[in-house]
């Protein structure tokens, strides 16, 4: 099929092209409690094609993307490509350079044993300890191996095989007739059994704590502490502002060599872009457009050092060696978790949905479970919400020296923010 598409591309009238062939072999298992409800297998192949066309004496470079079915006939392929060439000729983007550097790293060809990967996840989940009051409600396992082959008209060629897995878990905690549910969604490359079981057990503990939670009081002027993957959204706000498209579109006001906040009252954020990250669901060294991903600092000690992103937007910023980035490492701070946790604060471990608007920096989330640490006493709370703007609270950020990985991002284990509003549901005594 690849050769048929390449042959059709040679006569379709485009100026350049990229093809990405992806083959996914996935196994899926759906459990209710500990019994299997359904199982599925996925065996699919896709061909993504991107067409480039120069317009008005190379002043503009248009592009159009599409997907070609592996069962398409030669006539269908030709028709799709012809349509893409026409569409690309209408897209007047200022001209930019397409990747043409030979890939200087070897293909990643270690096969993924989907059967073994599935077994690891099933065994891990079945080893989760349950009690009369804390137990699994249901879980779904998705284990897959993906082989991606990329080629472009400039001679770039690369093949990578990698595992990509997801486990969705719902756990319950019960007290008399009152049952609490906690939802977790884990993505990774392979199965880290110990971490998976530990995270599920933590979710059960949160469920039990919610059974005894009090309504969140209307507290004012205390910090919010995040100790779960919700904190990653705070760091993604910083990361998104080092994205080339965000800069070109004037959403980001970051500038190389300038601090990301006007003044820092707490820790200074350091973010590194990584090509490879063990157990990431995107542990791949080449981006979707055939650029080799280089490890580099995006923000160091609170100062913007590099932008990253697609070929088009990187080119507009004059970045010749840039790429999209699959993995990020947010460095830990100066103080350990125990120091970050001193004084009064509200630790929120469960939101209905924690939302950070990467454009305006607005933060919002309904509190499902929190721990109010005040005067040396800890009260388990639920209800109400937190809200605010990272534009105001980012300068107050403090984070632990210890770090933790959530799939494609490593972040400090705990993150503390000031200047967020806590909307409680009951008046203080």
């Amino acid at each position: 099929m690849l050769e048929r598409i390449k042959k059709a591309l040679s006569s379709c009238g485009c100026d350049a092209w990229e093809i990405t062939e992806s083959a996914e072999r996935g196994w899926e298992f759906y459990f209710i409690r500990r019994k299997l409800d359904q199982h599925r297998a996925v065996d699919v192949k896709t061909y993504a094609v991107k067409i480039y066309k120069y317009i008005e004496d190379n002043k503009f470079l248009g592009s159009a993307s599409g997907e070609i079915s592996p069962t398409a006939t030669d006539e269908e392929i030709a028709k799709t490509l012809s349509s893409l060439v026409y569409q690309a000729s209408l897209v007047k983007n200022p001209a930019y350079t397409i990747n043409d550097k030979k890939i200087d790293i070897p293909d990643v060809t270690s096969p993924v044993d989907v059967e073994s990967l599935s077994r690891d996840f099933i065994e891990a989940m079945l080893s989760v300890p349950e009690t009369e009051t804390e137990y699994l409600n249901s879980f779904e396992i998705f284990a897959s191996g993906i082989t991606r082959r990329q080629i472009n008209s400039n001679g770039v060629e690369f093949t990578c095989t990698y595992p990509s897995s997801t486990v969705e878990v719902v756990v319950n905690a019960k007290k008399a007739d009152h049952e609490i549910e906690v939802y977790r969604f884990f993505t990774s490359g392979e199965c880290d059994k110990e971490k998976l079981v530990s995270d599920v057990v933590s979710a059960m503990r949160y469920g039990s704590d919610r059974l005894i939670a009090q309504p969140t009081p209307k507290v004012r002027g205390i910090d919010v502490l995040l100790s779960t993957d919700d904190a990653a959204d705070i760091y993604r706000y910083f990361i998104s502002r080092t994205n080339a498209a965000m800069k070109v579109r004037r959403i980001s006001d970051y500038e190389i060599g300038k601090p990301v906040c006007e003044k820092f009252e707490g820790d200074r954020v350091t973010v590194e872009a990584l090509s490879r990250l063990k157990n990431s669901s995107r542990d791949i060294p080449v981006d979707d457009e055939g650029a080799v991903i280089r490890d580099r600092f995006l923000i160091r000690d609170g100062v913007t050092e590099n932008f990253w992103g697609s070929r088009q937007f990187s080119s507009y910023l004059g970045l010749e060696d840039s790429s999209d980035v699959p993995n990020f490492f947010v460095h830990g701070g100066n103080d350990p978790e125990s120091v970050i946790r001193t004084g009064d604060y509200l630790e929120v471990v469960e939101f209905s949905d924690f939302s950070v608007d990467t454009m305006g920096g607005d933060v919002a989330g309904e509190i499902r479970l929190g721990y109010l640490h005040r005067g040396g006493k800890v009260t388990v709370v639920t209800g109400g919400s937190i809200s605010g703007s990272l534009a105001e609270s980012a300068p107050t950020i403090r984070f632990s020296s210890e770090t933790v990985q959530y799939d494609r991002i490593v972040i400090p284990k705990v993150t503390r923010l000031g200047k967020l509003r806590i909307t409680g549901v009951v008046d203080e005594n």
């Binding site: 196994w27 298992f29 759906y30 209710i32 500990r34 019994k35 299997l36 409800d37 359904q38 199982h39 599925r40 297998a41 996925v42 065996d43 699919v44 896709t46 159009a64 993307s65 599409g66 997907e67 070609i68 079915s69 592996p70 069962t71 398409a72 349509s83 209408l90 897209v91 599935s118 099933i122 409600n137 249901s138 997801t166 969705e168 049952e179 609490i180 549910e181 939802y183 969604f185 209307k218 579109r249 004037r250 959403i251 209905s352 949905d353 939302s355 608007d357 454009m359 305006g360 607005d362 919002a364 309904e366 499902r368 209800g383 109400g384 919400s385 809200s387 534009a391 509003r421 909307t423």
Partner: protein, 423 residues
């Protein structure tokens, strides 16, 4: 332009259901596909057995004889769109938007038209359908006085061809006023208020409150409080809510679902009383009820779950002016951003773009943004005291099951007056 083709086969052996999804095969050698399906599913069973896993036994799905061919009308099919005309039109609208919205840094438009052709075959059923849905949206952003970016977003959608995108021009006409409201907005003082939800916010409440809450695959897992409230009051007398692909000619107005069950129109809540939920075929078999035509897949390679289609509150008999006049102090809530449900405990979270202050029965012109609305679903629906005569249905968004399985849905309703906690 993307052409996606694929197949999924569902089989049942010894009461255990399994599926095999594939998209590469030789139609002249179906035997090879069957062999691969069998060997793959057998290998899975071997893994399951090696882990000592037991499985649920489910009966055989009903398979009454049915033949159907539905081809819905569409003005301009995606494959016939004049791309140049569309690009020129969007470029003109973007230029007009940039010129009219003060301080705008960009004005982006998006249009998607999707032609779906599906076939369902079982021993006794042969169903075919072809329909087109189209959605278009614009987004613009501008800095407020503190330099913080504020965004305005709106869109159009429906079951039909690219002609639906013509509606974008009217939607864009409101952008300058709405942006002025957003950049001049203030932070809300948290508290409980009398509020009026605009139709898109009413839709968000419908979706989060008793959309997810009555997906009956959640009943099978014991994950929804709704199962204990069938026949009981969950809202005021003004609350009647429909769910089904037949409820509106929207982005999800199919003729049959992904399990070969015909589309429906279910009254979930009738004048405040919870009547029933929605159900996929396998969950229906487990629960001993009839499927409602709500078995949907994200795509052919994904599993079927019970999913929403159109989730819509019925209209009432008040006018918006009457509703505003009835409020001493509160807000008219407009523009939906996102929501999250909690079917086990009926908590609800809606993030709303802005609120227009109402004082002594009149809009004051003061705007607050953004707003987090939280509460307990029966309290929220129980507080609904007025509903307007008109209503709107919106389908530019998508809905996930948990954090995955994104499908097209639509929701809506009239203006609704209620009490809500805002932060």
């Amino acid at each position: 332009m993307t052409t996606e083709r694929g197949n999924v086969v569902r089989v049942c052996r010894d009461g255990l259901y399994a599926e095999y999804a594939f998209n590469e095969f030789d139609p002249n050698d179906i035997g090879s596909v069957a062999e691969k399906l069998k060997s793959t599913l057998d290998a899975q069973l071997k893994t399951i057995a090696a882990c000592g896993v037991q499985s649920y036994k489910t009966g055989i799905l009903p398979d009454e004889k049915c033949e159907l061919f539905v081809e819905k009308e569409a003005g301009i099919l995606p494959e016939n769109v004049d791309a140049k005309e569309l690009v020129d039109k969007f470029t003109g609208l973007s230029d007009k938007g940039m010129a009219s919205v003060e301080g705008a840094l960009d004005f982006m438009l998006n249009g998607t038209s999707t032609h779906i052709s599906k076939m369902f075959i079982s021993p006794n059923r042969f169903l075919r359908q072809s329909y087109v849905y189209t959605e278009g949206s614009f987004a613009t952003y501008a800095p407020d006085k503190n330099g913080e970016l504020k965004m305005v977003y709106d869109g159009v959608s429906g079951c039909g061809g690219a002609e639906i995108l013509n509606g974008l021009e009217a939607a864009i006409a409101n952008a300058p006023t709405v942006m002025a409201d957003m950049v001049n907005s203030e932070k809300i003082v948290p508290g409980e208020y009398d509020v009026i939800s605009s139709p898109e916010v009413s839709g968000l409440i419908a979706h989060e409150a008793f959309g997810h809450g009555v997906e009956m695959d959640m009943f099978v897992k014991g994950r929804a409080l709704g199962s204990e409230y069938i026949g009981k009051r969950v809202g005021s007398d003004l609350v009647t809510m429909h769910e089904g692909a037949l409820c509106d000619e929207s982005v999800t107005a199919y003729a049959f679902d992904d399990e070969g069950n015909l589309a429906g129109d279910v009254i979930e809540i009738d004048r405040g009383i919870l009547k029933t939920g929605i159900c996929d075929a396998l969950s229906a078999l487990r629960l001993g009820v009839a499927p409602t035509g709500n078995g949907k897949r994200e795509k052919y390679s994904h599993k079927v779950y019970t999913r929403m289609t159109n989730t819509v509150f019925d209209s009432g008999d008040s006018t918006l002016d009457e509703m505003i006049s009835s409020i001493d102090y509160g807000y008219l809530l407009s523009g939906m951003e996102s929501g999250m449900e909690d079917p086990k405990h009926w908590g609800i979270q809606c993030i709303i773009a802005r609120g227009y202050e109402i004082k002594q029965g009149k809009l004051t012109g003061k705007v607050v943004a953004p707003i987090v609305m939280t509460g307990y679903v029966p309290d929220l629906l129980g507080s609904i005291s007025m509903a307007s005569t008109d209503r709107g249905v919106y389908g530019t968004g998508a809905c996930g099951k948990g954090h995955k399985e994104w499908v097209k849905v639509a929701d809506g309703g009239p203006y609704l007056k209620m009490k809500a906690r805002l932060g």
